[in-house]
Symmetry: C2
Subunit: 361 residues, 2 copies
């Protein structure tokens, strides 16, 4: 299907940024992938074109009613100059789950993976190779129909942009402080918490700023009903190791089904480490802390892979995890996943997908 994609080359490529100061999502490559949807034609005109501003009518529905979904994954260049994607099928499956919730027409998942591969092949020289760096891939869909009626749009654009990103931990992996959020709610049963839709992020900004004021870099979200059960940390899933068992909140409709989360569960099962998806309350966590059975805590997501948690602030209580150091399992998971992603160790799970050689001149 790749041959359906037309390619217009950028005649004015940008200079590549310094690989030691990439940060996250600040630099973008020379091309982007676009595809439009209309009710009459369905998804059509897949094309790779020079990276450029989008032109949208001021009444485009995305600006007013927030019909927008996205995904995030990464491409890595191996020592042999191969380019690997990590489980892109899971991201594209989730994109359609998000589409379904937000009333956006679905897209063929195999074609989406082809589109990603083709764009990454075109931009292969943009993939950074310094330790911990990668090419971040951001597919997203926005409602473009120019109309102020409150209803599902009849026109959309699907876009993929690419951003070379730096190592998440340029000075080595370091546990973070977390503020347990008691006022704001990220998501509730019946809402959009399981979908990767723009609104889940804007609504959490205020809590993020509150967390920073408490000297914390992230928020731990509790359930919207009882404000007791743990849901996510910032924009990551969360895991705790308690008395030898690794526990993560079950997918209950308000939690994102993270690709890294799923990979961790499968790795732990492979290693015969007990791992359970279930409800876990702050009371239980605090009790485990006080009786000395809380061994490790970490967030998981595409950006950081593993983000160890050194401390949680819950009302007036403080929970210090593993003396503020990264735990053994956290470190092993981080090393294993990042090495699979970058082709440094064998991928026995079939998770990595080789982008292949460029076949379009």
């Amino acid at each position: 299907m790749g041959s359906q994609i037309s390619i217009e080359r950028n005649q004015n490529p940008k200079p590549k940024p310094d690989q030691s100061h990439l940060g996250f999502g600040k630099y973008f490559t020379d091309h982007m992938f676009l595809m439009d949807y209309t009710k009459e034609e369905g998804w059509h005109e897949p094309r790779i074109v020079p990276y450029a501003p989008l032109m949208l009518d001021p009444s485009a529905m995305v600006f007013h009613y927030g019909q927008a979904v996205f995904e995030g994954l990464k491409a890595y260049k191996t020592k042999n100059d191969d380019i690997l994607l990590f489980r892109p099928d899971k991201n594209m499956e989730r994109l359609n789950i998000s589409n379904e919730r937000m009333n956006i027409p679905p897209i063929d998942e195999a074609f989406l993976i082809e589109a990603i591969k083709e764009l990454v092949r075109v931009e292969r020289d943009w993939i950074p190779v310094a330790e911990g760096t990668s090419l971040y891939i951001r597919p997203f869909i926005i409602a473009t129909e120019p109309c102020l009626g409150v209803r599902a749009a009849e026109q959309y654009t699907f876009i993929i942009i690419l951003s070379p990103v730096g190592a998440y931990y340029p000075e080595g992996i370091k546990p973070i402080k977390i503020h347990v959020e008691n006022k704001y709610v990220r998501a509730v049963r019946g809402g959009t918490g399981f979908a990767k839709t723009s609104s889940n992020y804007a609504s959490g900004l205020k809590a993020q700023i509150d967390a920073a004021e408490h000297g914390c870099s992230q928020v731990l979200w509790l359930d919207g009903i009882e404000k007791q059960y743990i849901e996510e940390v910032g924009s990551m899933n969360v895991f705790f190791k308690i008395a030898g068992e690794v526990v993560t909140p079950a997918l209950n409709g308000s939690i994102l089904n993270g690709v890294t989360r799923d990979s961790i569960i499968r790795l732990l099962e492979e290693w015969d480490v007990p791992v359970t998806e279930r409800k876990i309350s702050m009371e239980e966590l605090y009790l485990a802390y006080t009786n000395g059975t809380l061994e490790e805590a970490f967030g998981t997501g595409t950006a950081a892979v593993i983000s160890p948690i050194g401390e949680l602030q819950w009302t007036d209580k403080r929970i210090v995890v593993n003396k503020g150091e990264i735990g053994v399992i956290s470190k092993k998971l981080y090393d294993t996943i990042t090495r699979i992603q970058s082709g440094q160790i064998e991928d026995t799970f079939g998770w990595t997908v080789d982008v292949g050689a460029i076949h379009v001149p």
Copy 2:
């Protein structure tokens, strides 16, 4: 402050649409108002320019993380050719409340009203005059910074667009059927329900489609915690007249503080009709229906002003209100508000604001 606003005239004005088929939010006028925000300059460069597409980087944060707020109000042309706005101060006050929740920098409210007046003066020939028509005013703010980091943006654009809109009831006011939503949730305490942010609308689309499948035109939203207490109807506030008393859900943080809602409460107080803002459950409503004390029900909002409810479908129960006819109070409220808005009767509340004569050539 109006003199700060630069005006670039559109040299290619569009033909005006047929006033008998305007619909809602489908046609836009020849000009728009723009103003930008940067961290360094604050809100700056207020300008009226020809209506044209917005050019935004594909990484503009609004597309990814949904930082977007909006307002909706109307301008009416009176028989004397004056142009009236209805309570624009309330809308601009609410815009800043929405801004605060969504971490968007506030804007001076008096200046916003001047901006609306100036744009409406420029577009005065676009205001339709047929019965029930008006010029809909849509101020909105979007995060424009090109960055994929999950944080509050540091660049925004404030925009006002105008749309001539048709009569909400071209064939006379007609009660609607409502589906009481039991699966999806619009908002929850600690969320963004009280803010006019884009995400509150996209998340409700699925329920709207479910309602349509039940032969209903709107959704009645229940609270996200117990799914018992009534919150809003579609994108309107809701009122019930029970045993002579008019009841509307209290503003609890998940309900929008509607300008029409507030106007209705004040009119009812003026008329000595008992009106109460409080929690009201579906059980209570159903009981009132079964014992014959449910007299009227209606939604309220800028688009329809009053939308009488003829029937509610709640699980397997049906609640028919006033034999499916518009009630006496509903009709009196509709007539009074629309006549105040269009200058047909005296405005003893000081709600209407005259846009004034154009003072820029």
